[in-house]
Each structure stands twice: as C-alpha cells, then as structure tokens.
Amino acid sequence: MNLTLRIWRQTGPEDKGRMVTYQVDDVSPDMSFLEMLDVLNERLILAGEDPVAFDHDCREGICGMCGMMINGMAHGPQRGTTACQLHMRQFSDGDTIDIEPWRAQAFPVIKDLVVNRGAFDKIIAAGGYITAPTGSAPEAHATPVAKADADAAFEAAACIGCGACVAACPNGSGMLFTAAKVTQLSLMPQGQPERYTRVIGMLDAHDEAGFGGCTNAGECTVACPKGIPLNTIGRLNRDFLTATKKAAGKPGS
C-alpha cells in the first residue's frame, strides 16, 4: 500500500505547529497503525530528519498511552480499538490520512502527536481512590456484591484513561473519563465512605483543568476504545445530585 500522510508537526509547546505531508510506500496491510509510523520514522531518521513523536507503550490496547486523531476520528475508524491495535487493512491503497494530536485546552501538546494528559491525574487525585486499608487481596466472598453492580463497575473500570473521549467531544469535556472513574468506585461497597465527596471533588478538578461541560452529545462513547457506555455519565449525575442535596463537603474536610 502507498499512502499519503498529513501529520501535525510541532517542535515544542511554544511552536505554532503545522500539518506536514509525507509519502509512505510499501505499507503492509498487516502492519498496525503505529508500525506504519515506525516505518516512516526509520526513514526520517536515516535521512537525518526529526522523527514524528507519538505516545505508545504496550501496543496491545490496554495501557492507554497511544492515541491520535486519524481522519477526524479518535483512534481511527475501527470501533472499540486503540490506535496501536488498528491495522492498515482498515485503509486502502492511495489513501490520504490526516493525523493530529488530541485537541483540548487541558491537554497541551508537548511535541507533534504527544499531549500532556496530566489533567486526568489531577482528576484522579481529587477523589479517584478509596481510603480503606486494603492490604493483600481479601477472600473473594467476604464482601458480597450484586452481580449487576459488579458488571457495571467492571465496565467502568475498563477505562484506560487514553483521552479519546475528550478528543472526540464537541465540547472538549472529560465527563466520560470522570464518570468512569467515579462509577467504578461508587458501585462497590468499598467505595461508599467517600462516595459523595468523591464526585464533587473530581468534578471540581475536571472543571478547573479547563475541560468543557457535558451536553450528552454521545461522541465520547463511540470513540471510546473500551466502549464505556454513555449511561456512566448518568450515574455520575445521580451521585452529584445526591451529593449536592446532602451538601457534602470537599474531600478531606
């Protein structure tokens, strides 16, 4: 396959950045999207040019490091798939592919396709934990959990924090991520003591980080490589309504 790539190049946070066109020839349809970028980078390095910087780690779709807008779709055209698990057979010979970093105020570009997702860490630090001493793994039946709750919590816990929800959201909102991190704990008995301080703290951190507001547009859930359902945000809303009714304080108070 011969492809034309238009890639966002930006030397650093202060650089204005621009789309640069590259030609990549002899791409195998069995390559992953990132392997195709590796091929381009090898060629750039041999030519003495600066390779395209992009985030990646496990390359098996579970770490959440990789992620880029491919033709205006977060992680590319295949649903439920991270960019590293996307294969070139999803494209045709002669295609032009636009590759851009996640665009959000809260995710400043570090270089090329690499963005700083530290804003997600701030949201987690504001309540995405339990304070109960957990020790070693307890006996599985010691604390009964309803099967439906366990399933819903596990569904939310599948979030890998890649940021595709923010990238795809027309409002630049990080609500699906925040909702997943709130829900995975609030559905569990272990998450109950901080349930209502957690949702307020995490939402405050979300808003402070510069993410937009959620309008339930539903783009996030389509883009999510882990298929976190949109009703997760409803669970967050329900927790938030209860929390504000109880006038619960902020975490630590």
Partner: protein, 210 residues
Amino acid sequence: MAVSGIFFVLYLIAHMVGNLKAFAGETAFDHYAHWLRDIGKPLLPGVWFLWILRFALTVSVVAHIWSATVLALRARAARPVRYAHRPKIQGSYAARTMRWGGVIILLFVIYHLLDLSVGTLNPVGDGSKPYSNVVADFAPERWYVTLFYTLAIVTLGFHLRHGVFSALRSLGQQTPKGERWARASALAVAILISGGFLVIPFAVLTGLVS
C-alpha cells in the same frame, strides 16, 4: 438547562393541544383563545394567568439561553486549536445541531409572537379573531410562511429529540434499560409535538381548515 427545558416541553404540549382546537371550528377555537385570558377567574383578575405564564416563560428563556451560552463558551475555551480534519459526527446528529437549532427556534419564536400574538406581521392581525389570523397566515399564496414554519418546527423536533433525552440524563437517568426508554420517549415527544404543530398549517393549506 434541563429544568427550563422541561417547562418548555410542558408548555409546548398545552400549546399544541390548544392549536388542535382549530379542527373543532372557528367558534370553538376563538372561544378557547378567549378562555385563555379568563383562566383563574375569579381568583386571578383579568388576564393575570396569561401574564404569569408569560413571565415564567421569559424567565425560562433567559435561563435556557444563559446556560447554553455558558456551555458554548466553555466548549470554545476547552478546544482553542481546532482540528484540521473536521471530526466526523459519529454520535447523534440531533445533539450536534442543538446550538444553531436553538438560534433558529429563537428567531422563529420572535417572528411567531409578532405574527400571532402582537399581530403586526399578520395579514388580518385582529386579536379578537385568532382563527381568521391563523387561516390568513397559512393561505396558499403565503407559501413562504408555511415553509418557514415547517422548517422551524422540524428544527424544534430535532431540538426536542436530543433535549428531552439530555434533560432526563442530567436529572439522573442512569441505567442502560432506562437509557433506551429515555431515547424512545424523547423521540416520541419530538414526533408528537412537531407533528401536532405541523398539521395546522397543512390543514389550512389543503383547505381542511378554512
């Protein structure tokens, strides 16, 4: 957003049911319109009920537009650099037309008030004869009025399609089964309300109401 929106939906249902009185004939329709001014008598003097309703609607409009503006400004600030490749709409089309749809609906409401409440843009424009005003409005030679009305109502339908679902979600709808129910009811509300409003101009156009 959700609370003012739900108030609008309730108002729209009452407004639509009232409009359908047009099929009961001129006397019934005019009688209904005059009755609107007398609701609450003798507890509320004169047209007080109508003014209370108008006040509540104005407050809701301001609240609705204010919340929408805050959300739109936050969205703009949250993505200062736009995508070069415009993101494809993969979710709901209705959800992505909320802002411009809302502007179209607002413009329509202003026209609608000047047309059938104040009467300045109506060919008859007689406040005591609402039925004649409506019939004159959608006369076949004024096809452009009917066209604009239809466009505005279809836009309203899309706005309701996402708005009702989104309001239920904001107010805490949280289960997957409930989501299917919420989407279905949003679609039903959108179709029923836009359909109920659209039958009037087309009934006038085809001579069913004259």
